[in-house]
């Protein structure tokens, strides 16, 4: 489900008009070699000029010239500009040049397609975009796009990236901002500019950053997102206008106050009938947390996620009254509604802005700005602790956030203003999975028996959805999960979803086709039949970026595998253990003669952490050792050839 909304709508893919260009400068041969390295495209020249005219008027001029070497680079030259009722595009045009820098084709505004920019998870939005449906006729080519955007909002202000993605370099990049009034001076934060050819010029009414000759970066496994590794300039307004409302914010407290006053206050009224209904619901308990749980369950059972974004609706929730009527809303509407219900039964809560996603992205301390965050959750203070709920999920347990909003700085808002706090984290041991199995291997090599899997933390998060699937989909899930188990049949499937403990248990009987491999008189099989890890990330010969294990986990296996009559073990994997800064691995396989079975015990811990690029090979080695140990085979030999 797409639960994300765009805080302040607007795609800032931006640039300025540049008198008459000397077109031959787009000759592809003029590009220095170090900018071509590992690049599908080069930004030859780009310039954005932001002109803050007054509180409710901002003009942005953009020019961007990109030389593209191959079809993979086309995306870097894509001309797509978003607009809506408060953000208008003026004078958009594009020119294509060939490899020699000669003009090929020219595109006017009428050549651009005008399309709705609504994504799949949204019922309606006023976002639209103009885009150029451009088919390159040869490579390399250069596409220059120029346009001006007039915006009635002066928040957010665009941030500037000196690289526009992986595998694209920048030859020349300018970001200029001018203000017509002294109170419109924004605050600027430079991020990761060191080591690059980037200069700043200051004017009496503005500034300009210019970057030159910035080589392309390559995407590497497990690295932070591009926005965290790119040299960039962040800009935030201290005084702004948004959808007709003025704002003056310096601290996160100010942003919270502004949000509360203009976006939340007075939107929490409820119809009397609903108020009575929820009061009745909690009448028998005085316990705050129990009341909160019941309200949350009520919301989960009675509402669903539907997103409608129009104008100010980008950050202002639809009213609790409206949600109460239609029983749907987006993250803002459902959170505000839940907050109103909680309040009706005397439970206080905070409205919380968060940047959601599996990557943990913090709100910037000391850099308060409306543009941060893409999702809303609630925090309920009780017993000196905050209890968190995501009102857009109809199934997630109370107090559990999962990997969508965990462990990050978020913005807490209530009538007193706002502040940043960190959400709970799920790391290492907390994300557990214990698999127990009692299995029997037949002389033909088939496996059969009972399995129990218990998952907690993020492993709970990724598996509890199984209970909502149909029987066919559940079966195909296991057939995919254990794809190497030929002819897998699953029966007696039972799930236990303990939402209070955040623990999901799966029990089932399994039966496979041939599992053990035949080799003459011998049978070979990997006793780890149910959880072979393959964590090995891609190899990077010359790793440049740091890498991170964001959460980690702990998996434990305890299997008892009865061996077929007439066979005896010839070789067992025995014991293995290794310990690294990334985690540890312990394996013990032993033969129990009384029961003629094998006991398989294995434990893996992967720790969360952030590591320097030079640790990467060691990490890969750790993963490879896990992968190899998990696949270790044991060998059985026919002990009685007459059977």
């Amino acid at each position: 489900m797409n639960r994300i909304f765009t805080f302040l709508p607007g795609i800032f893919l931006l640039f300025a008009s540049l008198g008459q260009a000397q077109e031959s400068r787009y000759q592809a041969v003029l590009i220095p070699d170090d900018l071509k390295a590992q690049a599908d495209a080069v930004v030859r020249y780009e310039k954005m000029t932001v002109k803050l005219r007054d509180l409710f008027r901002m003009e942005v001029d953009m020019e961007r010239a990109v030389t593209v070497f191959n079809s993979r680079g086309d995306r870097h030259a894509r001309a797509v500009v978003g607009y809506n009722d408060s953000r208008k595009i003026r004078d958009i045009e594009a020119v294509e040049y060939d490899a020699m820098g000669r003009e090929n084709r020219k595109f006017r505004q009428r050549d651009f397609m005008d399309v709705s920019a609504v994504d799949g998870g949204t019922l309606y939005s006023d976002s639209r975009s103009l885009y150029l449906d451009h088919t390159p006729v040869s490579y390399p080519y250069t596409l220059v796009v120029r346009y001006t955007v007039e915006n009635e909002n002066t928040a957010p202000l665009p941030n500037w990236y000196f690289l526009s993605g992986y595998r694209v370099s920048t030859q020349e990049s300018h970001f200029e901002l001018r203000y017509d009034r002294p109170d419109l001076v924004p605050e600027v934060r430079e991020v990761l500019l060191e080591g690059y050819e980037i200069e700043k010029e200051t004017f009496f009414n503005g500034f300009r950053y210019s970057g030159r000759n910035i080589p392309a970066m390559r995407d590497e496994s497990m690295s932070p997102p591009f926005s965290e590794v790119v040299p960039k300039v962040m800009v935030r307004p201290l005084h702004f206008g948004y959808e007709g409302i003025e704002g003056q914010v310096d601290t996160w407290e100010d942003v919270g106050r502004w949000m509360y006053t203009h976006m939340l206050q007075g939107r929490d009224a409820l119809p009397e009938s609903t108020r009575n209904e929820v009061l009745h619901l909690v009448a028998d308990t005085r316990d705050t947390l129990e009341r909160a749980r019941r309200i949350y369950r009520y919301v989960q059972e009675n509402t669903r996620y539907i997103s409608v974004q129009v104008g100010i609706g980008g950050i202002r929730p639809i009213s609790a009254l409206e949600v109460d009527r239609v029983k749907y809303g987006d993250c803002k509407g459902l959170s505000n509604y839940t907050r109103a219900l909680l309040s009706a039964v005397g439970v206080p809560s905070y409205y919380v802005h968060v940047e959601a996603g599996s990557y943990k992205s913090d709100f910037e301390p000391g850099f308060a700005d409306l543009s941060q965050g893409n999702h809303v959750i609630l925090a309920i203070p009780q017993g000196g602790k905050l209890h968190w709920v995501d009102c857009t999920s109809q199934t997630i347990p109370f107090g559990f956030l999962g990997d969508f909003t965990d462990d990050r700085l978020v913005h807490l808002i209530d009538e007193n203003g706002g502040r940043l706090v960190r959400t709970p984290s799920y790391k290492g041991l907390q994300n557990g999975q214990v698999t127990r199995a009692r299995l029997a291997l037949s002389a033909e090599g088939a496996l059969q028996g009972e399995v129990e899997i218990r998952a907690t933390g993020t492993q709970y998060d990724s598996q509890y959805g199984l209970e909502d699937l149909g029987a066919i989909d559940q079966l195909s899930y296991y057939r995919r999960r254990w794809g190497y188990l030929e002819n897998l049949e699953v029966s007696g499937l039972a799930y236990e979803n303990d939402k209070d403990a955040v623990q999901f248990t799966q029990r089932m009987d399994i039966e496979t086709g041939q599992y053990a491999k035949k080799a003459g008189d011998r049978l070979l099989f990997a006793p780890n039949a149910l959880n072979r890890l393959n964590l090995v990330p891609d190899r990077h010969r010359d790793r440049k970026l740091p890498f991170m294990v964001q959460r980690g986990f702990e998996d434990q296996e305890a299997y008892e595998i009865a061996l077929p009559k007439g066979y005896r073990p010839e070789a067992l994997p025995g014991e293995t253990a290794f310990e690294t800064p990334f985690g540890h691995y312990r394996l013990q396989v032993s033969y129990e003669p009384e029961s003629h079975s094998v006991s398989y015990q294995r434990k893996v811990l992967l720790q969360a952490g952030e590591y320097a690029p030079d640790q990467y090979d060691a990490y890969r080695d750790f993963c490879r050792k896990i992968s190899r140990s998990d696949r270790l085979q044991m060998i059985l030999i026919e002990s009685d050839t007459t059977k």
Partner: protein, 680 residues
């Protein structure tokens, strides 16, 4: 239509067909129901569905089409909430546009044992301009929860009388009961085309309609009588109705190129229009008529006759050349290189061949009709072949709408060659995979047409020659030479065409844990038409299991596949491989010094009935090395579902065979020698 434009319409007699299910009359038992009676685990089901398509005469504009939809849906689980949002695409062209009206909706929930109704309001309805041609009308039902029954009805009004949108008869959720009724005035004649695996049994009938109208008497004979006169026209309405009970959900299956091709539906293709006292306007009835109409289209036939724009280039390309094969390939590669496909389909041109040629971009029609024109100009018997792409269904009956693509054919003494210049990686007789969809309709210059198969007959091959050297400590080093032919080469080029070699090798290494590439060479990657040959020299760590004095390994090492792609026991739809193929391994394994073979897998083979496919696996010892030849082939592009059990068994046995181990024993270890070769 112009023959009736002065009529004032007063349609009578519509809606004779009464609906059994009244809007708003929802049974309490239905709202209380907790699971689908037929299939326990469905997220939602359509309890009742009614689609009623009919025509009304509109003054000055002729017949307009109306589609009334009424659906009642039971939501069982949260996954079913998606069905509470309804969306209709409304087409427009010039001043004419489709509209949605009379939207009515309600959600029914059981509250304290009573059914409570929430009505759909205006504020739950949205309309969004998707682009110049489409508007999307949407609404979402209020107060939906698990157990809700939702019901809605609306009417889509279309001025495009001659086109009826595909009527779906099957959803992704079950339909308990549906009735679909289509009523068409006798003047407009359609032909139904059925799609999918369900039996559709229309009932045909007739009823009469009457148009009362007034018209202006022009008073040709007597100026004094000029004025309005009234009159009436009786006409017949052809009715078609479908009633279906317990329509199963369409269930996704792997190896299907587009599930929608198997969704049961009916399409109405316009045959002709004939108003009273006016000539019949034909659209399509027979293949010849379909083709004739397509030919008459300025963006088709006319485009084939234009030649000035390429005369010069053509002269340079084939001037003086007499060999037809050389001519056709010179022209093909020129168009392929010169033109750039803009991603749009269509058998007619988009901007016209001349402009497309100048600008070097175009749609499928632009590019391939230009190709046909050039081939003809060069004296070859070239024909356009109309076809339908894989995501567009299979045209089994003569229709115009069934086609959405065109390729070129050249007829030679020794057979024919098919060509499509929209892809940079195709060659003569190799169409892009999107175009491989059963049949095409080849159109000769005299306007006659015939059907031809577009599926390739020859298998596309991947042939591996491997030399492994095993080491007693678990190291493997080797040389792998792989040849890719036809579609294997096409796919290779499409996938890796612009990828740097460095990145390709990294990906390759990442695919096989512990592999390190020592050297790499690739031939003919950019010589379209030739097989690609790549040679990889590599080293690999520990793919072998070593215990005590023994080494175990599966002899295909990293090349073996360990998963059967066909996991389900049974299958309803054909398995679509797009082209026949063959995978072949010629392997030579040098054994480590000091070890000898204790056991080998047995050789084996399996063939499917009717030579649909098969595999063979041969292994033998030759001195201190092993030799094996393994082959898996599928000889048909599309394998019918009846062969599915065999196909599944084939892959199962193939995977199993590959997993079987070779056992080596250290020589002179303990005399526990066993005989070489397999045992039962």
């Amino acid at each position: 239509m112009k023959y009736l434009t002065t009529f004032i319409a007063l349609i009578t007699g519509s809606l004779l067909w009464a609906q059994d299910v009244k809007f708003g009359k929802v049974d309490e038992a239905l709202v209380a129901r907790t699971a689908d009676p037929a299939a326990a685990s469905v997220a939602a089901s359509v309890v009742y569905r009614n689609v009623y398509i009919y025509y009304k005469y509109i003054e000055n504009d002729g017949f307009h089409q109306f589609r009334e939809v009424h659906e009642r849906v039971k939501i069982y689980t949260k996954d079913g909430y998606d069905y509470a949002t309804v969306s209709e695409s409304l087409y427009r062209n010039g001043g004419d546009k489709e509209g949605m009206s009379s939207i009515k909706g309600a959600t029914y929930n059981l509250v304290d044992g009573k059914v409570v109704e929430d009505k759909l309001r205006k504020s739950d309805q949205f309309s969004e301009e998707v682009n110049d041609y489409y508007e999307r009308a949407k609404f979402t039902m209020p107060n939906v929860r698990e157990g809700s029954v939702i019901e809605y009805s609306y009417t889509v009004h279309s001025p495009f009388a001659y086109s009826i949108d595909e009527i779906e008869m099957q959803y992704d959720i079950p339909i308990e009961f549906q009735e679909v009724r289509v009523e068409i005035p006798e003047y407009i004649v359609f032909k139904p085309q059925f799609k999918g695996y369900l039996l559709l049994q229309p009932e045909y009938g007739k009823r009469s309609g009457k148009i009362n109208f007034t018209y202006k008497d022009t008073g040709r004979y007597d100026d004094r009588t000029q004025g309005f006169q009234s009159g009436a026209v009786d006409y017949q309405i052809n009715t078609i109705s479908y009633e279906m009970k317990d329509v199963p959900a369409l269930v996704e299956e792997p190896f299907v190129n587009d599930m929608d091709n198997y969704r049961s539906a009916v399409n109405y293709e316009l045959l002709y229009v004939q108003y009273p006292e006016s000539p019949r306007e034909n659209f399509s009835t027979t293949w010849d008529q379909v083709v004739e109409r397509i030919y008459q289209n300025d963006n088709f036939g006319y485009q084939l006759n234009r030649s000035n724009y390429f005369k010069k280039s053509l002269e340079q390309l084939v001037g003086g050349e007499t060999d037809p094969i050389k001519k056709l390939s010179a022209i093909f590669f020129h168009v392929q290189q010169h033109m750039n496909w803009n991603g749009l389909y269509g058998y007619v041109t988009d901007q016209g061949v001349r402009k497309a040629y100048e600008e070097q971009t175009g749609n499928v029609g632009d590019i391939n009709l230009m190709l046909v024109a050039m081939l003809r100009e060069a004296g070859l018997d070239a024909r356009p072949v109309l076809l339908s792409t894989r995501d567009h269904g299979v045209p089994s009956l003569p229709t115009q709408r069934g086609f959405n693509y065109v390729v070129a054919q050249v007829v030679l003494d020794q057979g024919y060659v098919l060509m499509d210049a929209t892809s940079k990686y195709t060659k003569p007789n190799l169409l892009p995979v999107r175009a491989l969809n059963w049949f095409g309709r080849s159109v000769s210059e005299d306007g006659r047409s015939r059907s031809l198969s577009v599926f390739p007959n020859a298998p596309s091959k991947r042939v591996h020659f491997v030399n492994f050297q095993l080491d007693a400590d678990g190291q493997v080093s080797g040389k792998l030479r792989t040849q890719y032919t036809d579609y294997r080469a096409y796919n290779f080029r499409s996938q890796y065409g612009v990828m740097e070699e460095e990145e390709y090798l990294e990906n390759y290494e990442n695919r096989y844990e512990g592999m390190e590439i020592i050297s790499y060479d690739r031939k003919n990657a950019n010589v379209i038409g030739k097989a690609i040959a790549e040679q990889i020299e590599f080293e690999m760590e520990e793919p072998l299991a070593i215990t005590g004095d023994k080494i175990f390994f599966s002899p295909l090492l990293h090349l073996s596949s360990d998963e059967n792609p066909f996991k389900r026991e049974s299958r309803e739809y054909p398995v679509d491989f797009a082209f026949p193929w063959q995978e072949r391994y010629n392997v030579n394994i040098a054994l480590p010094e000091g070890y000898e073979v204790t056991s080998l897998p047995e050789s084996a083979a399996m063939t499917l009935p009717d030579e649909v496919g098969g595999f063979s696996y041969h292994i033998g010892q030759n001195g201190h090395s092993l030799q094996m030849v393994v082959e898996l082939s599928i000889n048909q592009a599309v394998v019918p579902a009846t062969y599915y059990p065999g196909l599944r068994e084939l892959f199962k046995n193939f995977v199993q065979k590959q997993s079987e181990q070779v056992v080596l024993t250290k020589t002179g270890s303990d005399g526990n020698q066993e005989r070489t070769g397999g045992r039962r």
